[in-house]
Each structure stands twice: as structure tokens, then as C-alpha cells.
Symmetry: C2
DNA sequence: TTTTTCATTTGAACGATGCTTAGATACCAC
DNA sequence: GTGGTATCTAAGCATCGTTCAAATGAAAAA
């Protein structure tokens, strides 16, 4: 049985606008924070290809060498950005799960929320995933934290009737759901699917439709 | 000028089956072919991050500007590499489908063959996918050609009993299978799954296990 | 208050990248 | 041969990630 763990910080610190020159106890104040914000701003506005370390420093109003006192290299900055992305994703899934009524809605809602997050934050999602891909591991917070997407999917599967004592089957099913969501998240933007989206009545309906053809999201398994 | 052997030409040891050097109507022969081979060689040996246009030119034994007479830019070279990757993938799926006996084996075999291809050609798979992602479209050969992965999955679903007249459901199911395979292909290398792979008796069994938890790969749907 | 300390930030520099331009090279048709 | 032309090289531009000695300035020590 899953215990409700204390939820500490539920919200990712919101991006600050560009220069906020009020209080700067040190030279810049909190340059680390400012660099992460600048990176997320650039990511949102210019896309992942435009995200150079020098551009981030420029955006933060600082010299190209300044970031190296707060991050070992470019990858470490991206890791920090990705970390906030994972927290945002966890929040989105928590909200989707809370909103759902039936068990089937919970599973489908989780999947759709996952894909919607990727659709609404395409550049951030790519950074999140590229970071974990290069490390050949899922970020720690995705599997360890109680509100991680992985745990939420697994718990929901148990609620939906999965045998919690068959750990292997449970992990396989969770992985299957994860793969399905990730696969759809990465392919959803392909123009090839435009006609399908229209045919089923919109993008969200398309996501539901795809998930309904996967066993872990099937209604007969939930109730 | 010092009379030495030309520095750039004829210096490529054909580590692999280098493109037939019989006919070289021009300076290098078929530099386009040599560049693609060099790119694939680098991709295999050094990984995707080491794949710079200059490094490809170096590997092919030509100057950094030479590739621009055969490819508009770096992306066009990668497109050519990706194209060959898709053809290899289609071949792998064709072989897997031919080998399968039962209908269920055909679907599962297709999925596993897809993931195995990605596992065995990780860098190539990434280039294949990044190329189509940036264009926001699946490569033409994946949906148009008769032996494309998409068509093979769709046809196999029909063989397995899907209603060929319900085009929307058929496309949704095909897409679902595709997403599942792609998602697993991209996550299969995560170390987080090592214990699961071991628990189920190997990597291939792990792939089968994940697919068996998705409806489109479920046995009860096939027969 | 003055001085010292030391993290923070800068400016300059290095090697490497993608790409462009101008010119040299060598194949082919004549 | 000669000329035309596709092919390739050389050199250069702007940008990138990264390093390092110097400069800056907040905080602690005097």
C-alpha cells in the first residue's frame, strides 16, 4: 500500500523576467537562478538549437565565462533546466490524476496529460529527455520521488486492479505505459497525423484514441 | 611546389565495404557515396556528438568545403544517412515478419525487431529520428513505400483481425503500435531497466514483456 | 574605519564548428 | 590539343564551448 508522503515544494519557481536589478547582495545576486531562467526563456522563444551557453550568458547580461562559476559545463546547466522540467511534469500528472473520476479516466488522463505537457513545452521536453538519454538513465527524481510520473502510473495501475504482489508484471505494465506515452509525445507533432487528428475530432481526442488501442489504457482492464 | 602524393585523395582505407571504386569519372569518383559511408562509419564508432561535417570530410579524405558540392548543408548529409537507416529498418521488419508463424508472433516480432534495430544501431536510429523530428514529419519512405514499417504494421493488424474498412481505428491502432515501439526503443537503453531485464530473463524477453502489456500486441487480439 | 580575503565576474584567447567565397584543378567533349 | 565545367582546395567569417589570468567588490578581520 502506498502511503501519502509529504509534498514539500509543489511548484517550480516561476521564471523571472529579464533583469531584476533590485537587490543584488553579491555581484549579480543569484546568477545561477538567473541563468536557468534565461535558458528556459531562450528555449521557449528560440528553440533548442538556439540554446548556446554564450546566448544564455548574453540573455542574463553577463560575460560568456560567468556561467562556469555556477555550472561545470553546458550540460550541467541543461541538467538544472531539465530538473525543473521534470518537476513541472510531475505537477501536471498529479493534477490530472486528482481531476479524474473513474479509474479508466485516471490512466487515460495521465497519458494524455503527459503528451499535452510535451506538446505545450516541446523544447523543454526535448532537453529533459536528451539529458537522461545521454546519461542512459531516467533522472532520479522520476523514479524515486513519490509524486514522480513513474510512481503515479504504477500506483494508478494498482488502483485499477493490477496485482501489487506481482512486482515484475507491475513494472512491465508501468514501463509499457511510459513507453506508450513517450512514444506518442515524440510523434504527436508529426504532420502526418494531422488528418487523423481532424478525423477523430481534435488533437486531444487523437491522443485518447491512440491510448485506447494500448492494453494498459484499455477500459476493460480498469474496471 | 613539393612533389608529393596528393594529400586528400585516395587516402581512405575502406574499413567497410566502401562504395565501388571502379568508376571515378571525376576527381574523387563518387564523393557523395564516400561521404555517406564516412558519416555512417563515424556515427558507429564515435557516436552522434562526434559527427561534424568537418570530421566527415576528414574521414573521407577531402577538404572541409568539399561536401558542399554534394549536399546543401550538414542536414542534407544527415538526411541521406537517415534515408539509408530507414531502408535498413524496413528490411529488418520485413525479415521479422516473414519469419513469424502465428499472427501474434508477427505483431510481437515486428515490435521486437524494431526495438532490436534501435538497440543495435543507436546512433543511426537517433539520426533517423532527429531528422524527421525537425521536419515535423515522418520520412516519406516510412509511410509511402509498400515495405515501410507503417504499412507492414497496418497490414499485419488487418491479418490479425482488425476491420480493414474502419480506416480510422486501423490508423489509430497502427499509430499506437508505432508509438509503443518507438517509446520502448528510446528508453530501452536506460540503466533503470537493467534489473527488470534480468528478472524476466534477458533483454529480448524484456521487450516482449513490455509489448505484451499493450493492447495492440496482446495475444487475445491476434487470435 | 581601514584592511584583508576571497568568491565572483570579466576579457582575452584557443581550438573547433558550419558555411561562404574565390580560385585552382582535372575531367570530358570538341 | 583547347575550352568548358563540374569538382575540389585555400582562406576566411561568425559562432561555439571552454580555460585562465586579471579585475571587481562584498564580507570578514583588523
Amino acid at each position: 500500500m502506498i502511503f501519502t508522503a509529504p509534498r514539500y515544494r509543489f511548484t517550480v519557481p516561476p521564471m523571472r523576467e529579464a533583469a531584476a536589478p533590485e537587490s543584488r547582495p553579491y555581484h549579480h545576486g543569484d546568477l545561477r537562478r538567473a541563468l536557468i531562467d534565461a535558458a528556459r526563456r531562450l528555449l521557449e522563444q528560440e528553440g533548442p538549437t538556439a540554446l548556446s551557453l554564450r546566448a544564455v550568458a548574453r540573455e542574463a547580461g553577463v560575460s560568456p565565462a560567468a556561467p562556469y562559476h555556477h555550472f561545470k559545463d553546458k550540460g550541467e546547466l541543461l541538467d538544472a533546466v531539465a530538473h525543473e522540467g521534470w518537476e513541472m511534469l510531475n505537477q501536471a500528472l498529479t493534477a490530472a490524476r486528482a481531476k479524474a473520476v473513474s479509474l479508466h479516466e485516471k490512466m487515460a488522463g495521465l497519458g494524455v496529460a503527459y503528451v499535452l505537457f510535451a506538446r505545450d513545452n516541446p523544447s523543454l521536453y526535448r532537453v529533459m529527455y536528451d539529458g537522461s538519454r545521454d546519461k542512459e538513465d531516467l533522472p532520479t527524481q522520476m523514479r524515486m520521488k513519490d509524486d514522480s510520473a513513474y510512481c503515479q502510473v504504477r500506483d494508478t495501475l494498482v488502483e485499477a486492479g493490477a496485482d501489487p504482489t506481482d512486482e515484475i508484471a507491475l513494472e512491465l505494465a508501468t514501463t509499457a505505459a511510459w513507453c506508450a506515452a513517450h512514444g506518442l509525445a515524440e510523434m504527436a507533432s508529426f504532420k502526418s497525423f494531422d488528418h487523423l487528428k481532424e478525423a477523430v475530432g481534435g488533437e486531444e481526442a487523437f491522443f485518447h484514441g491512440v491510448f485506447e488501442h494500448m492494453q494498459v489504457f484499455a477500459k476493460d482492464k480498469a474496471d
